[in-house]
């Protein structure tokens, strides 16, 4: 191509006049000289054709491209958005839509449960178990599962408050720097720190460091949920405050005196797993049996093979009577208590060194001490019963703090994560004493009652959004990683202590790292630290068993005075779902049926059937309970298994803070509590008020009504199944793609803890409907736990029946009646035997629910989902449809997880390995009661469970071939004539 000469002036005019091309590569191109055209023709024939002008086809092609380009161009309109920075580099590790899991821990009473947190797109969505954690071993509890909702709680404290007005962290720091410098100069005089129970090594180190800076500092801790004397009992027996640990796997008999090792609490996940594993392992030989004596029914007494109920004063004398009975002084009389004593004593005597006697955490020190001595006498110490350091560090009490406050010895009080204004026992006037403190600083997740009385309120960061550590029940240090930046600008307790005490406040990570770096070789720290974060634990930090030596019995502790005739004993227990009130703001836990009463959204006063009969009370009747000069009004709930003349009050309700989720629900039991004996108060009276209230409950009928929904299997029994699985049918067998999903639920392992129910709610976007709707019968839980009373095990009657738990998800019947009913085929079978719901096809005839014999379907009678707070909507699982008004829903076997595995399997061409798909309920279960998998896979765990002799189908006689089946409860060989079924 020969360069042509250019008329630059003309070209300039050409461009300036706007008639030339906007882009040109050369002056030739600009001038459109013939030479350029011929060059173009030779080099780019296609382009030459374009330049020559399009033909019809070409024109259409061009227009199509133009429209597409115009569409793209419309997207890139920069109007007002020119400041945005493109998403050039993905944030590290975040793959859109793919889950990312972090090991962390949830906290209950200051003690950790090792978990993992599943996040998607940077949002934590679900708590799962952590298999690597030596204590929780993959299990979770309701509090851990529900803590994800607390993270998104729109009512959480969102700002620093000064005198209840919004302020800022900077203002806070500015305001406290001066006073704290002055206190420091004064050696810390007048400064007090009040926390909840603390097990965190780094926080404890910080408190210790604080004490060196402020030598006169007093640290108090307050745990409203604990009301017993376990540590004092050990101190009396061994001289040191130690926590009992049990080796169920080495035991043949467990005798529980008000035992609560299966009940909600920081110990629940690990202890119940130990129990369930040991029970399972023992089934081939002598079944590990549980004898329980309680004053109020618990999950532990519900699982007992042999149980008795008696008043607290009698209960306290049980260890002594047991000892006497083992010594040969067998109890006379044929009352239930004597008979139980005889059986328990015989069992213990027959298993010396392989028995466990244990007392509940709410029992006083004397009972614990007596139990330790009994274990010692039976040779159980060092065999099945061990002792180790408690996870929670010891601090001064709330009572001592209030005394000091009243004496005017406290000028500055820092309250970290405690709410004593609400939760202080009735005889400790914390609120009154606060008036004598000049500077009150409160940090909490909520602007609660204590915040209202404080000068400064600081929003505490949620454990899921802060760095930290805490010990599990066995002492294992569990690390907590933030899975999201603090939603509401909260800071962790460690960061707040740093603000108060350090010249340059450090952030949570720096504080935590600094603590764990201490005393380690910095060069070798990084690998250790990385692995610790991946696993969520600092290895080998569990407290070892201590060698203990029994001290001689002191003067026998004065037995509690026998209850005065005609008066009632009041028992105080943490609420099964909101505990001491710390979880009251959690809607999932509010709507979670309490395991035994099945009531929701409020607390009730448990009353024995006999007392209710005597006082002419029925469930829901309001009564006034008077003790001392305090009176409380609340509704009674007839509770089988409750000791006569004993009422159980649960904590955590009756709060009147305005505009909170929990406002106005239930009664407040704290004013009746005494600091010296927080879990028991005798001498109460009861008066019927003549009013009734409507209590929302999810299960009105609790007896088996003569049916075999619950089955027992004693040694030597044949198959629990009574009908053949294949009943004759007119219809041909259904084909499939080779997989057959099924679930087997072990009723023997199920302790009724509800972890599965909350996990299901979290995984499947199940809405909360509120008390009114639950009372109408419209709760939405896809998985419910039926609680039945019977006399199957012991033949006991109404006053102390056997209790059974039966989790009921969808049965995924092979011959599903619901599918026949639906006129629009919105519920149908897939090729792997899943009974599916097609939400957007559902018109809401509700025929499927009418047709379902298990009534596992739930209907969106009203719009339950769209009014949720925006922050709560953030928690929703993007893999699961949020259901609108007028649509039916039910358990899907977590179909989203199955589909994920199926897609992976389709891509790889490999079958889905057994154990890949875990349903949410299965993963949450602390006792591993739920098995799920492919029934057609000969090697699968679910297939093996299906073949167990204990396997039976609920309502199998209907011929619906449910895919969910149950394993019958185990029971020891019958020692006496069978009782009548209840």
């Amino acid at each position: 191509m020969t360069p042509a000469s250019h008329d630059l002036v003309a070209l300039r005019a050409h461009v300036d006049g706007g008639s030339g091309p906007a882009l040109w590569r050369s002056l030739d191109a600009l001038a459109e000289t013939p030479a350029f055209r011929s060059f173009l023709d030779a080099e780019f024939p296609a382009a030459a054709r374009l330049a020559a002008g399009p033909d019809r086809r070409q024109f259409l092609r061009l227009m199509a491209a133009s429209f597409a380009m115009a569409g793209l161009a419309a997207c890139s309109d920069t109007g007002g958005r020119s400041q945005e920075v493109a998403y050039v580099r993905d944030p590290e590790r975040i793959v859109p839509g793919a889950p990312l899991v972090y090991a962390s821990a949830t906290l209950l009473d200051g003690i950790a449960n090792g978990v993992t947190v599943l996040t998607r797109n940077g949002r934590p969505l679900k708590i799962e178990g952590n298999d690597r954690h030596p204590w929780s071993r993959g299990g979770t509890d309701i509090f851990g599962q529900a803590s994800i909702l607390d993270l998104y709680d729109p009512l959480r404290s969102q700002a620093v408050l000064y005198l209840s007005r919004p302020s800022s962290w900077e203002a806070f720091r500015g305001a406290v720097t001066g006073p704290f410098a002055a206190i420091k100069a004064d050696g810390g005089n007048g400064l007090r720190l009040l926390t909840g129970p603390l097990s965190s090594p780094s926080l404890l180190a910080q408190v210790a460091a604080l004490k060196t800076d402020f030598p006169a500092l007093h640290w108090h801790s307050f745990d409203p949920a604990s009301g017993g004397g376990a540590l004092d009992g050990a101190k009396a027996a061994f001289g040191t405050a130690l926590q009992a640990r049990w080796r169920f796997d080495k035991a043949r008999v467990v005798v529980a005196i008000d035992g609560d090792f299966l009940d909600p609490g920081p110990h629940q996940v690990g202890t119940s797993r130990d129990w369930a594993d040991a029970r399972k392992a023992s089934a081939s030989g002598d079944l590990l049996t549980l004898h329980a004596a309680t004053s109020t029914p618990t999950l532990t007494s519900a699982k007992a093979d042999d149980h008795v109920t008696l008043r607290p004063a009698e209960l306290a004398g049980l260890p002594g009577r047991l000892q006497a009975a083992i010594g040969g002084d067998s109890p006379k009389g044929d009352d239930p208590v004597s008979l139980w004593l005889a059986r328990a004593a015989a069992a213990l005597a027959g298993a010396r060194g392989a028995g466990i006697v244990l007392a509940g955490t709410d029992q006083p020190a004397a009972v614990h001490e007596a139990v330790h001595r009994l274990n010692d006498a039976l040779g159980n110490l060092g065999q099945t019963v061990f002792f180790a350091q408690p996870a929670v560090a010891e601090a001064e009490s709330l009572g001592a703090l209030v005394e000091a406050m009243q004496a005017g010895a406290v000028s500055t009080l820092v309250v970290l994560g405690a709410n004593p204004v609400y939760a202080a026992p009735g005889d400790i006037d914390f609120k009154g004493a606060l008036a004598k403190v000049s500077l009150k600083i409160h940090a909490g997740l909520h602007a609660d009652e204590t915040a209202a009385y404080a000068n400064w309120h600081l929003p505490l960061a949620h454990p899921l959004e802060s760095w930290g550590d805490a010990r599990a029940w066995d002492g294992t240090v569990s690390l907590m990683q933030p899975t999201i930046a603090p939603l509401y600008g909260g800071r962790s307790a460690a960061e707040i202590l740093s603000i108060l005490s350090e010249a340059e406040p450090r952030d949570g990570l720096a504080l935590l790292r600094a603590h764990w770096l201490e005393g380690r070789d910095p060069a070798r720290f990084e690998p250790f630290w990385k692995q610790a974060l991946i696993d969520g634990i600092v290895p080998d930090t569990a407290f070892p068993a201590e060698t203990v030596a029994m001290r001689p019995a002191g003067p026998s502790a004065s037995a509690p005075p026998p209850a005065a005739a005609g008066t009632l004993d009041l028992l105080f227990r943490p609420d099964p779902t909101v505990r001491d009130g710390a979880f009251a703001s959690n809607a999932w836990l509010q709507e979670l049926p309490k395991p035994l009463t099945k009531t929701v959204w409020e607390n009730v006063i448990a009353i024995s059937p006999a007392l209710a009969q005597g006082e002419d009370l029925s469930s829901g009747d309001m009564v006034a309970i008077g003790v001392g000069d305090v009176t409380l009004e609340g509704p009674v709930w007839i509770t089988p298994g409750q000791a006569p003349d004993t009422l159980t009050l649960t904590l955590g309700y009756g709060r009147v803070l305005p505009d909170m989720l929990f406002s106005g629900y239930g009664y407040d039991a704290y004013p009746l509590r005494l600091a010296a004996s927080p879990s028991l108060r005798p001498g109460a009276s009861l008066r019927k008020l003549g009013r009734r209230v409507r209590i929302a409950t999810t299960q009105d009928h609790g007896t088996l009504e003569g049916h075999d929904f619950i089955r027992l299997q004693r040694p030597g029994d044949g198959s629990a199944e009574t009908v053949p699985r294949e009943l004759p049918s007119f219809y041909p067998a259904k084909g499939g793609d080779g997989r057959a999903w099924g679930m087997v639920i072990d009723e023997d392992a199920c302790i009724g803890c509800n972890a599965c129910v909350v996990a299901c709610q979290a995984e499947n976007n199940i809405p909360v409907v509120g008390k009114t709707e639950v009372a109408l019968g419209r709760e939405m839980h896809w998985l419910r736990i039926d609680r039945y009373y019977s006399g199957l095990k012991t033949g006991a009657g109404l006053d102390d029946p056997d209790t059974h738990f039966q989790p009921v998800p969808c049965m995924h019947c092979e011959e599903a009646p619901c599918e026949v009913g639906c006129p629009v085929e919105a519920t149908l079978h897939d090729q792997e035997g899943l009974n599916l719901m097609v939400y957007n096809r559902c018109v809401g005839t509700r025929a499927c629910s009418s047709y379902c014999p298990y009534k596992v379907r739930h209907f969106n009678y009203l719009d339950y989902t769209s009014a949720a707070a925006p922050s709560v909507q953030q928690q929703r699982n993007p893999e699961v449809t949020v259901r609108p008004k007028g649509v039916m829903e039910k358990c899907t076997y977590c179909v989203q997880r199955i589909v994920e595995a199926r897609i992976d399997s389709d891509k790889s061409g490999q079958p889905i390995p057994d154990g890949t798909v875990k349903t949410a309920c299965q993963g949450a279960c602390p006792t591993r009661a739920i098995t799920f998998g492919d029934l057609n896979d000969q090697a699968s765990a679910v297939r093996a469970a299906h073949g167990d002799a204990r396997n039976y189908a609920l309502l199998g006689e209907l011929g619906l071939k449910p895919r969910t089946t149950y394993l019958a409860e185990r029971a020891p060989a019958r020692a006496e004539p069978p009782g009548k079924e209840g």
């Binding site: 009928h701 629009v824 005839t845 739930h858 619906l960």
Partner: protein, 465 residues
């Protein structure tokens, strides 16, 4: 009774009525509106009922079907109970009219218009429910087979699909049946309206409107021949549809595995209960109309006696069904069936069972007495008791089973919500509003049937117009 049947026409038309006077008696009501003030009062009340219905439905569409008291397990309650009851009354009315037509019972003439109209408007009241009881009423048409790009069809095994088809077919047939029966009467009205217009110069529009809806009926032999064929064919369809509709509604329950529902007797029992309720309701309505409009000349004592006999016989049939169900349940010894039976008789909703016994099954036995069979008041009271009592039957069948079927844990009580009651009251208002409009503008009894009857009475036809 035997003597009554042997003398077919005797007593069916009052002695002083003739071929022309029967026509005038009836058309007078439609044309002259003799009960103006009472009619307006009744119309105003029923209009209030309709506005209640409109308000209740509007609120339901806004808030969701949860405004009613339904729950899980009681997913069907007052909605389906009301629907089944209304459609039962409608079916009963239509079946009686159609069967009498096909069997040529000459005494039906005075009642046919009433039963046909009643069947149609009761069906209209019933037709509210299947749509509004849905969770998403705006998608009601998904239950019907229609062509769509997704290739989605209803799920044919579901009794609900067939129920939807039944309802629509029923409405079409009932409307057709009613219109055909009305045609000659409309022509009569047209003729008289024209006469009146010519005589007084008033009512031209009325005459024109009746002229239009009379579809050019001239009363030629050809017309009559075709008319009779069409009337009989549609009547035969009606009979089939009533059976299909009622048994279909029953299969909605019998097709499940639920205790108390899973029962082959249920379709028969549903059908008989529907006819029982329908005939009782129509009998009461006939007597009320008779006294309001002074139709003693047309609806005679013999009509009343025949209606009483019908109620008595149907009452015995129904008694048999209840007895058979209790007997077979006891014999079957299925614990769940027995438990449901126990709850029906002695449970929280035992009132329903005892209402059936006391209001529906017991009172008809008063008709063993001849005096009662001819006492209008007794017939009204018994008729209303029976039709109301059978409302309890649907309540018992649906709610008692749903409230607790197999697992005691799934029990939950059902309480009728305020909005459910308002909706039902509204549907009654709708029924009466339509009934009053019909009474105002249409002949309350079939003119031609009555005329045909008068022709068959020796000596009265001579005075024909």
């Amino acid at each position: 009774m035997a003597s009554d049947i042997a003398a077919p026409a005797r007593g069916l038309i009052a002695p002083d009525q003739d071929f022309g006077s029967v026509g005038r008696t009836v058309s007078e009501i439609a044309l002259a509106h003799p009960l103006r003030y009472r009619w307006w009062l009744a119309f105003a009340v029923s209009l209030c009922g309709v506005s209640l219905l409109v308000a209740a439905i509007a609120y339901l569409l806004y808030a969701g079907v949860g405004v009613w008291g339904n729950n899980v397990p009681v997913t069907w309650a007052l909605d389906i109970v009301s629907y089944d009851w209304w459609i039962g009354i409608a079916s009963g009315g239509l079946l009686i009219s159609a069967l009498l037509m096909l069997t040529g019972a000459e005494w039906r003439g005075a009642l046919s218009r009433l039963t046909e109209t009643g069947a149609l408007i009761a069906a209209a009241a019933a037709a509210c429910y299947p749509i509004i009881h849905l969770g998403r009423p705006w998608f009601f048409y998904w239950t019907l087979p229609y062509f769509n790009t997704l290739g989605l069809w209803p799920q044919w095994r579901s009794p609900l699909v067939w129920d939807a088809v039944d309802i629509i077919s029923y409405l079409v047939v009932a409307l057709t049946f009613w219109t055909i029966g009305l045609l000659p009467d409309l022509a009569s009205l047209r003729d008289q309206a024209i006469e009146r217009w010519r005589a007084t110069g008033r009512g031209r529009l009325q005459a024109q409107l009746y002229g239009i809806v009379a579809l050019g009926w001239r009363g030629s032999a050809y017309h009559w021949h075709r008319w009779m064929q069409a009337y009989r064919i549609v009547a035969a369809f009606g009979v089939l549809l009533v059976i299909s509709l009622q048994t279909g509604a029953a299969v909605m329950f019998a097709g499940t595995v639920e205790p108390g529902w899973h029962d082959t007797l249920l379709p028969t029992a549903f059908l008989l209960a529907a006819i029982f309720a329908g005939s009782a309701f129509m009998a009461a309505a006939a007597v009320v109309l008779r006294s309001i409009f002074g139709l003693e000349a047309l609806i005679t004592e013999r009509h009343l006696a025949l209606l009483s006999w019908l109620m008595l016989i149907l009452g015995l049939f129904n008694l048999y069904c209840y007895a058979a169900e209790i007997f077979t349940t006891s014999l079957g010894n299925d614990s769940f069936d027995l438990a449901v039976m126990g709850r029906r008789i002695g449970g929280a909703h035992a009132w329903a069972f005892w209402t059936i016994a006391v209001c529906a099954l017991l009172p008809v036995h008063v008709f063993w007495l001849k005096a009662a069979r001819r006492a209008p008041r007794v017939i009204v009271i018994v008729g209303l008791l029976v039709s109301g009592g059978l409302f309890a039957d649907h309540f018992m069948v649906i709610v008692v089973t749903l409230q607790q079927d197999f697992l005691p844990s799934s029990y939950h009580p059902y309480e009728v919500g305020l909005w459910g009651v308002l909706t039902f009251l509204g549907s009654i208002g709708l029924f009466f509003m339509l009934a009053l409009l019909g009474l105002r503008y249409l002949p309350v009894v079939s003119i031609i049937e009555i005329r045909r009857l008068s022709l068959s009475i020796p000596g009265s036809a001579a005075h024909g117009v």
